[in-house]
Symmetry: D2
Subunit: 194 residues, 4 copies
C-alpha cells in the first residue's frame, strides 16, 4: 500500500521564534519536542523510497479577502498581519524546506482537503495511506484525519511529530480521538514498517 | 441572521434501547440526559419560527457496498447488520420524528457535509448559522462544527442536546475543542436569543 | 487499468413511454436507438469480468424540498410531479435493472459527482476509467465527462449508448465537445478492448 | 439579488499575441471581438456598484506536479511550458488587470469551482448570481455554468464577452447548451439591469 507523508502547517508563523503566532510560546514547545528535525528525518525517509512528501501551509492574500471562517481565530490573525502568502510566515523552516518533486498545497481553512486539490492528487498518484505530522494536533491534524477517513484513505498519525500548545489536549487527541480515524504511532516505529 | 437546527445521528440504532449500537449502554446515557425530549423541544421552537429543521442520519445499503471508511468502526457495524437504510436503526425515535417540511439528509460518512447536498441546501435557503444537537459529541458533532466553520457558517453547539458514551470526552470537546469552531451554549439560553 | 460502467439517468421518467418526460417524444427516440438493450449488454459484459456497474438516477423528495437548481427545468418537473424518489419515474426499466453488487447513486443535480459519494467510491474501488452510457448526451453525459476529467479519471463515452432529444446536438457533443474530456467510441469497439 | 462578475481564463497565455496558446490564432479572434476591452468595461461597472469582480486563471507549478487531468490537452501545455504560475502566461492583460479588492482564484482544472474556494467565497459574500465572461465558451464558460447551476446559483453568460477558437461552437453553446443552465445575454443589455 502506497503511503504519502503530509506535513501540516509546520510553517514559520507557528513554529519559528519570530513567527507571529509561535513567538507567544508554541515555538518553544516545538523546539523542545524537536518537531522540525524529527519531521525532516521522516521526510527524507519517504524521499529515499520515492514516496510523496506533501507540504501543507495556511495562507491568505494581503487584505484577507480570501478568508472565509467567521471565528475570532481569524480576527487575531488579521490584527498581527499573520499568515500572508509570500511572506516569511507562510514559508517553511530551512531544515524542513520542500525539495524538488515535493507538492506544496496552500489552504485557507483548517482542513487541508477543504477547497484544495489534495484528494485528487493523492488518488492520481495512487496513494492509499496518508501519514500525518504537524501542528496543532487538535486543529489541522484532527481535521485531516477525519476527512481522510471519510474519504476512504488509511490514516497514520506520527504522535511525536505533532503537538498542541496545550500538550494535555495533544495527549487526549492521541489517546481517545485520533485512534477512531486511524492509527496513532511513533515515527521510529512507523519507519520500520515503511 | 437565519439559523437552522441540525439534528445529528439521533437515530434508533444509537439512542433506542433496542438499537444495535445503543443497547450496549449509550441508549441509557441518552435517556438519563433526556436528549430526545430536549432536542424535540428545540426543533419545535425552530418550526414555530419558520426556521429549518434538518435531520441527519447515517445509513448504508444492505451489503454495505456504499461504505467507504477503512476503519474498524465499520467492520463492527457490518457484524451486527447495523445502520441499514430503510430499517429501524436508521429511523428516528417517534418523539423526534421529522415533520413535513423538514429536510432529511442521509450520509455514509461521519461528517454530514461529506458527499451530501447539505451545504448547497443551507446556502440556497440563506442559512448563515447552524445549530447542532446530536451524538456523539466527539464524532459527528465535532466533524460538523469543523466543516461548518471552514465553509464560512456560524456554528452553535447545544451542549445539553449532545452526548458521548464517555461523558468526560464530551466535556473536553465542549470546553476545549468545539469553542475553537463556534459557540457552545445550553439550549435554554440559546432559545432566548432565537 | 480498471474500468467502471456508469449508466446515467436511464430511468423510466426519461426513457419509458409512460415516463413523465419521455412520453413527450424521447422514449421513442430511445427505443429506435435500442438504448436500453445495448446498455444492458454492456452492463452484462462488465459484470462478467467482475468490473463495477453503477446506476445513477436523479430524484427528489416529494415536495422537492431537496432541489437546489434555480433553472426553469426544475419548475417543469414540479408541475408534472416528475422524478420523485420511490416512484416509477426514478426506477430503471426492467431489462436494465440493477443487480446484486451494482451500486446505485441518486443525485439531485445534473452532474452525478455533485454532492454524492461517487468519486470516493471509484477511488476506494481503484477505478481509473469511467465508461459512460446515458441520457441526455448534452446534459448528464457531458457534465460527467467534464467532472471526471477534472478529477483525474480517464473517460470513455459510448456514443451509441447515449442520446439527446435533438440528435444533432448529440452529434456535435460526440464530435466536438466530449473528445476534449475523453475518448468517444462505439460500444462494440470498446467491448473488444475490455 | 447580488451579482458577481467572474472573468474566466482571460490570461495572456490564451489571449495575448505572445501567449503560448493564443499565438496560434485565438489571440487574433479575441482582438477582433474586442473581448478584453468589453470585459474591462463590464468589470468597471461592477466595481462602480461595489459588486465583486473575480478573476480566474489556470496555472500549474513548474514541473506540473500539481496537474491532474489525463487528457492530451495537458501534454500539449507541458511541451510548450505553458500556464506556469508566476510567469507571463498566467497574468492578465494590462487593460484587464485585477484591482485592489478583486478576488483572484487560480485553478488546475477546467471548472473554476473544482478544488477552489470560489463557492464558499460567493456564499460568504452573499452572491446569488454569477455573471460570466471568458474563454473558451465551450470549455471553462460551459463548465462554470453547469457547476453554478448545480450549486443553486443564478447564472448569466455575457455572450459578447466570451469566445471559442471555433466560433460556430461558441454559437451552438450560446443558443442550445448554455440556456439550459442560465441566461445568455449581451453585455450592454445586462448592464442596463445591473
Amino acid at each position: 500500500m502506497k503511503s504519502a507523508l503530509i506535513i501540516l502547517d509546520m510553517q514559520n508563523e507557528l513554529i519559528h521564534p519570530q513567527g507571529k503566532v509561535g513567538r507567544n510560546g508554541f515555538a518553544e514547545t516545538a523546539a523542545e519536542l524537536n518537531l522540525v528535525q524529527k519531521t525532516a528525518g521522516v521526510a527524507q525517509a519517504f524521499r529515499d523510497k520515492n514516496l510523496p512528501v506533501i507540504f501543507v501551509n495556511v495562507g491568505f492574500e494581503k487584505g484577507y479577502v480570501d478568508a472565509i471562517s467567521k471565528q475570532s481565530r481569524l480576527a487575531h490573525l488579521k490584527e498581527t498581519g499573520a499568515l500572508v502568502i509570500g511572506e516569511f510566515g507562510t514559508e517553511f523552516p530551512e531544515e524542513l524546506a520542500p525539495q524538488e518533486g515535493d507538492l506544496v498545497v496552500t489552504k485557507r481553512a483548517v482542513n487541508p482537503f477543504h477547497n484544495t486539490n489534495l484528494l485528487n492528487w493523492l488518488t492520481a498518484n495512487k496513494v492509499e495511506r496518508i501519514v500525518l505530522a504537524g501542528v496543532y494536533t487538535h486543529m489541522v491534524v484532527d481535521s485531516t484525519a477525519r476527512h481522510g477517513d471519510d474519504s476512504g484513505l488509511f490514516v497514520t498519525v506520527l504522535e511525536d511529530c505533532c503537538a498542541s500548545p496545550d500538550m494535555e489536549l495533544h495527549r487526549i487527541e492521541c489517546e481517545k480521538i485520533l485512534p477512531l480515524f486511524g492509527t496513532v504511532t511513533r515515527s521510529e516505529d512507523f519507519l520500520k514498517t515503511l
